[in-house]
Amino acid sequence: MPLLELDGVTRKYGALVALDQVAMTVEEGEVRAIIGPNGAGKTTLFNVITGTVKPTAGQIRFAGQPIAGLASHQICRLGISRTFQITALFPEMSARENARLAAQARHPRRWQPFGGARIFTEAGLRADAALEQLGLSAIADRPAGLLSHGDQRLLEVAMAMAQQPRVLLLDEPTQGLSVEETEQAVDTLARFLQTSRMTVLLVEHDMEVVFRLAHRITVLHRGTVIADGAPDQVKADPGVQDAYLGGFA
């Protein structure tokens, strides 16, 4: 059974059709890149999957369970974690505390109003493991607001990982990074994806990043899926090359 299935997912904003009958299946352990020109509906797709926004029509199944219409914090608890296009962190907490708070969200007594030493220890272990996976152990005690932009982007991924999700949604993880920072980040991500065998949906504009990390690519254009397949296949697809004026070498 595929881990994530989208069936006829549509999202309208009045007359604007942001997503039009999107269908997609993602297998466990797969790294699926979602690409498309600006305005294609990539972030809307993420929003619909995580429950931030409800689909106007269509179904979404996570491990066989329908999730369209659930509240976003409920969907998060089912095992779907996400990072955002614009970096969002807790700037005055250390990287470790950031990841720990993310891990704490999964604990059944996360709301405990006293004590909590054991809860903090358990969450701390998961946080440390996640930071290690993303190569951030060295800066674990530094305030998140003072990290380099590249490390901040990776910290967001670590926070999502600290929640031990089954599916990870990465929204433009290399957004705003310099060429060097991107290289380093992609190296780290590649290693991390190989060892963790995480199921990932990745929105990216940078094609080199996509080709390095993705197993399959889904191309969105104006809300519809115009191509879906292995990277080489998609590269050669004329429809895709048209959509991206000028294509890619």
């Binding site: 995580t50 976003s72 914090h73 998060c76 608890r77 996400r82 955002f84 614009i86 970096t87 969002a88 962190l89 807790f90 700037p91 005055e92 907490m93 505390e97 720990r100 708070l101 993310a102 704490q104 969200a105 999964r106 604990h107 007594r109 996360r110 709301w111 405990q112 109003p113 006293f114 004590g115 909590g116 809860i119 903090f120 305030p143 998140a144 607001g145 003072l146 932009h149 901040q152 926070m159 929640q163 705003g176 990074l177």
Partner: protein, 325 residues
């Protein structure tokens, strides 16, 4: 985080001296100074309760006087009309305030940001207006007067004396402090901190932040109500001034000038405020004006407040929640 754990030997010594001074005060201080000290302790509890909302969760309340005034009226009414023991009335009034505040919190958290703050103010103003109109219960513009310090259970009258009442207030302050400290260091407190620094991120991590906000409003109002409930038998009266937005503003100033997010800072801020009020008002009619200017100066140049300056904490809000490259 609270500055207490980072103290070295000398500062710990200072704390012990202060604690001793507070405990032994009734033995050495003249009656009028004891009155001032007791009032400072009560205000300190009031300010500390707001710190829970503002300092730790960044929920700006412009209507915290509602908690204080309601607690005062509730306790005053109970003491006047039911002859309940002082201890029970005080805690019952505080508890009642906290319970009602769950509803207030539910309403106010329908909105976020400034709208939330305006809703807290609106609620306080509503309570203020009701206190004028509902004369049969609140005494209208005259308020409740002649509130007695009733005798405790089994004839326990120690609390009614000046010193006894002081120890009651001090006990509430210390107890409140210990409870709040435990709360902010717990997992619940960690979530509050997340809400403070980036609420959207906290929600996206899977926390139902609204529930946490409602809970912290209830606890904050409950403690504020406890402070008000202490004030009524202390002063012997409860009137509409206790619900007025000016008081809400003053307590917010106490929190900021004292040092938000530290629990101790606001208590110092309350003491500082009272000092200013009593000393400056003797010197000049314009003391409130100067105090407003001092407040603006603090916001501009020392937002970490007195306690923050003393413990050298990182300046609040210096780091942005959405860092730019």
């Amino acid at each position: 985080m609270l500055g207490v754990t980072r103290m070295r030997g000398t500062t710990r010594l200072i704390w012990i001296v202060v604690a001793l001074a507070m405990v032994l005060a009734p033995l050495g201080l003249p009656p009028f100074a004891m009155t001032l000290l007791t009032e400072a302790v009560i205000l300190g509890l009031f300010a500390m309760s707001l710190d829970l909302m503002f300092g730790f969760t960044r929920l700006v309340s412009f209507g915290h006087a509602a908690a204080y005034g309601f607690g005062a009226y509730a306790c005053g009414w109970m003491l006047l009309h039911t002859g309940m023991p002082l201890l029970f009335a005080v805690f019952a009034a505080g508890l009642l305030t906290g319970v009602i505040a769950i509803g207030v919190g539910w309403m106010c958290t329908l909105a976020i940001g400034v709208s939330f703050s305006m809703l807290t103010l609106a609620f306080a103003q509503l309570l203020y207006a009701i206190s004028f109109k509902w004369t049969s219960v609140t005494g209208g513009s005259d308020g409740l007067a002649g509130i007695p310090r009733t005798v405790g259970p089994f004839g326990f009258a120690a609390l009614s004396s000046k010193a006894g009442f002081y120890y009651l207030a001090l006990g509430c302050l210390v107890g409140g402090f210990l409870a709040c400290s435990a709360l902010v260091r717990s997992p619940f407190g960690a979530v509050l901190r997340g809400i403070r620094e980036n609420e959207a991120k906290t929600t996206s991590l899977g926390y139902n932040t609204r529930l946490y906000k409602i809970a912290v409003v209830a606890v904050a109002y409950g403690l504020g109500g406890l402070a008000g409930a202490l004030y009524a038998p202390f002063a012997g009266f409860a009137n509409t001034e206790l619900l007025f937005w000016l008081l809400s503003g003053q307590v917010l100033i106490m929190v900021i000038v004292g040092g938000a997010g530290t629990l101790i800072g606001p208590v110092l801020g309350a003491a500082f405020f009272m000092l200013m009020e009593h000393q400056l008002s003797a010197l000049t009619e314009a003391w409130a004006l100067y105090f407003g200017l001092i407040f603006i100066a603090f916001v501009l140049f020392a937002p970490q407040g007195i306690w923050g300056l003393a413990t050298g904490r990182l300046q609040m809000g210096r780091l942005r929640a959405n860092p730019r490259p």
